[in-house]
């Protein structure tokens, strides 16, 4: 077995790129779930972001505008979910699945004219002396801005939930909406804001797929990335820092197994592909054996204020 053709520098660089879309989607979904809402429509919002981002980037020539539009479009789509589940009190699981279907259908409709087109992609960020560092420069400091933005976002979400009053309110709403309501917090409003944020993040993740990672528009191109993001949130037991670990693990295993194959290593492909999912199950078993599972107590429950 000759693994010398795998360059660890390029490998880690690839892992960072490969993990970014699911990291963005997962951190958004985590905030939504911490507010007590289960939105299974991540896949639909991601692909909407992918197509809108792609279309806007092509029409304006500005990938940055593409990302902004993607976030906005997916967030608006998620508001329809918010309206249905928070105002009309529809079932969250069914509505979320519906959102995925809507997103997939809508995206292929919007995307038809853009098939086979090429988009301007994000330039690699030049971090001056950092990018010129011998090994680390290529590995960590020569990515596009979205990679760093996703990391900053994770840190920001972590700090927001841990240190700010607004973060505390959001968590209170997720743990016990009745208690939060009794204290005078606007449960529905907080949840709508969380859903909007989650949609925007999923949209960014989708746009990263179509604008940077692939980069092109193909119908159904998210191919399950949204579901992986949902799995990561559970894997992470609803903690921002663990979402980061989870996303890099998922991205890492995918890229690593492809690289191992390309280098001719005899690895059981099927086992490697399944390993992140196996690990999620193990984590869940470990969590439940310990007794506390970290899930927000009001997750997925409808809230109806009684006057």
């Amino acid at each position: 077995m000759d693994l010398s053709s795998i360059s660890p520098i390029l490998l880690i660089a690839s892992i960072m790129i490969s993990a970014t879309p699911i990291l963005l989607a997962a951190i958004g979904e985590m905030v939504v779930e911490r507010a007590g809402v289960l939105n299974l429509g991540v896949e639909g919002m991601m692909i909407t972001g992918a197509v809108v981002g792609f279309a806007v980037a092509i029409n304006t020539g500005q990938p940055a505008l593409g990302f902004a539009a993607a976030a906005l479009a997916a967030a608006l789509l998620s508001l329809s979910f918010g309206f249905l589940t928070q105002v009309l009190l529809s079932n969250q699981v069914a509505t979320g699945l519906g959102l995925t279907l809507v997103g997939l259908g809508l995206s292929s409709l919007i995307g038809k004219p853009y098939e086979g087109m090429k988009t301007p992609t994000l330039p690699k960020l030049d971090l001056g002396p950092l990018s010129d560092l011998p090994v680390l420069g290529r590995m960590l400091f020569s990515h596009d801005i979205m990679v760093y933005l996703s990391l900053v976002l994770v840190a920001a979400v972590w700090a927001f939930l841990k240190y700010t009053r607004a973060g505390l309110i959001l968590r209170a709403v997720g743990e016990s909406h009745d208690a939060a309501h009794a204290l005078g917090y606007k449960v529905v409003r907080v949840r709508m804001a969380a859903i909007f944020f989650g949609g925007a993040c999923a949209g960014l993740g989708g746009a990263y797929l179509s604008l940077v990672r692939v980069p092109q528009w193909t119908e159904g191109m998210t191919a399950g990335a949204g579901w992986i993001a949902l799995a990561i949130v559970v894997f992470a037991s609803w903690r921002a820092e663990r979402v980061l670990i989870g996303a890099y693990l998922f991205g890492g295993v995918t890229v690593l197994q492809l690289n191992l194959q390309a280098a001719g290593a005899a690895v059981p492909v099927a086992l490697l592909s399944a390993s992140p999912y196996l690990m999620t199950i193990l984590v869940l078993v470990a969590i439940s054996a310990r007794g506390t599972h970290g899930a927000p107590a009001s997750l997925g429950q409808p809230f109806h204020a009684i006057q």
Partner: protein
């Protein structure tokens, strides 16, 4: 009886495309089950072109329905059953993984005709059809072997099934013939369609030194990844993918299902349909070779076209001995030509390929 009608109505309503089958009993209804979205730009895109050709040929006399992105496996059986319930007279199931579901549904609907692509199980109302893609792979291998500078050719494979293995062997044999130093890196993606993963696979191969990428997955993502990396050549798969010409895409294998779909639909209409086994190649036109771009040197292009003609006329078979299996045992003696049975069930690499076929 009432429940049956109800089921049929529900199934028709659930179909992604509009179905007016019940009122237009005189129309021949042709259904298609697709493994990916039509917009994949590759495999499913070409099957859908075949469907449109059927519509154009017969106009109002036919009605076509299709369902996209049907997963291979148990769910396929549900999708095919729904299509049969909705009154389809002829159903094309267009991926290898639909083989057992197709046979299972066909047993329940003896009056409906089924056509399964790339499989080997037949029944009185189930035909199989496939194209000899390996003929196109031979030409790709030749161009790849001539053009590689790193002598490393990357191959994105989907699933370890005979069709894919045939393609790898054929490409390798012909690359090796013109370039004894050539090496193949094969990545099994375990998917027909996942643009992100296909792009990652292409990137992994390129980072490992490959400068030619062959793909047996359905989307154009590897083309885009190769284009971004620069200095890489690729081949269109299933569809021309000419939007990536002249570089990285230097040629392509094009599946042309239209004549077959038209012929089979006509057979159903005039009642002459029989269960058959069709396996056509470049000669009858089921496999097309996309235009070889100017990035390929003139002499290589001429050789490739000569090989295409020789294969089309039957003068040359891509699997002509001497060929040994990977373990060194003799498969084909000097001048011997592979029989279709072995090719259809091919589960071994030829000599020189490294790695094992996963199972």
């Amino acid at each position: 009886m009432l429940r049956r009608t109800l089921l049929a109505t529900a199934a028709a309503a659930a179909m992604a495309t509009t179905a007016f089958g019940a009122e237009h009993a005189e129309k021949t209804k042709v259904g298609f089950i697709y493994v990916g979205p039509i917009g994949d730009g590759g495999w499913t895109y070409e099957h859908n072109k075949g469907r449109l050709a059927v519509e154009e040929e017969f106009g109002d006399a036919v009605e076509t329905v299709y369902q996209e992105s049907v997963p291979e496996g148990a769910d396929a059986e549900r999708a095919i059953t729904q299509m049969a319930l909705s009154g389809a007279d002829l159903i094309f199931t267009t991926s290898f993984g639909y083989m057992d579901p197709t046979i299972a549904v066909a047993e329940k609907f003896p009056d409906v005709k089924f056509e399964h692509a790339t499989g080997y199980k037949r029944a009185d109302n189930v035909s199989t059809y496939s194209a000899r893609f390996y003929e196109g792979r031979a030409i790709q291998g030749h161009i790849a072997g001539k053009m590689t500078e790193t002598n490393k050719i990357g191959y994105i494979a989907s699933f370890p099934i005979p069709e894919v293995i045939r393609g790898i062997n054929s490409a390798y044999l012909h690359a090796k013939k013109v370039n004894p130093d050539v090496e193949f890196s094969i990545v099994w993606a375990y998917t027909w369609f996942d643009p992100a993963k296909e792009a990652d696979a292409a990137r992994a191969l390129i980072e490992n030194g490959a400068d030619v990428i062959l793909q047996h997955t359905d989307s154009t993502a590897p083309q885009a990844a190769a284009q971004e990396a620069g200095g890489i050549i690729t081949f269109g798969q299933a569809s021309d993918m000419s939007e990536f010409a002249p570089l990285p895409r230097v040629s392509s294998i094009i599946d042309d299902w239209a004549p077959y779909y038209i012929a089979r639909t006509r057979a159903v209409m005039d009642g002459t349909w029989e269960s058959t086994d069709t396996w056509d190649g470049i000669g009858p036109g089921m496999v097309g070779i996309g235009e070889i771009s100017d990035a390929v040197p003139e002499d290589v292009k001429a050789e490739a076209l000569a090989m295409k003609d020789a294969i089309a006329s039957g003068e040359y078979h891509p699997f002509t001995g001497p060929i040994n299996k990977q373990d060194g045992s003799v498969w084909l003696a000097e001048g011997e030509v592979a029989d279709d049975g072995t090719l259809l069930g091919m589960d071994f690499y030829v000599e020189g390929l490294t790695g094992e076929i996963p199972n």
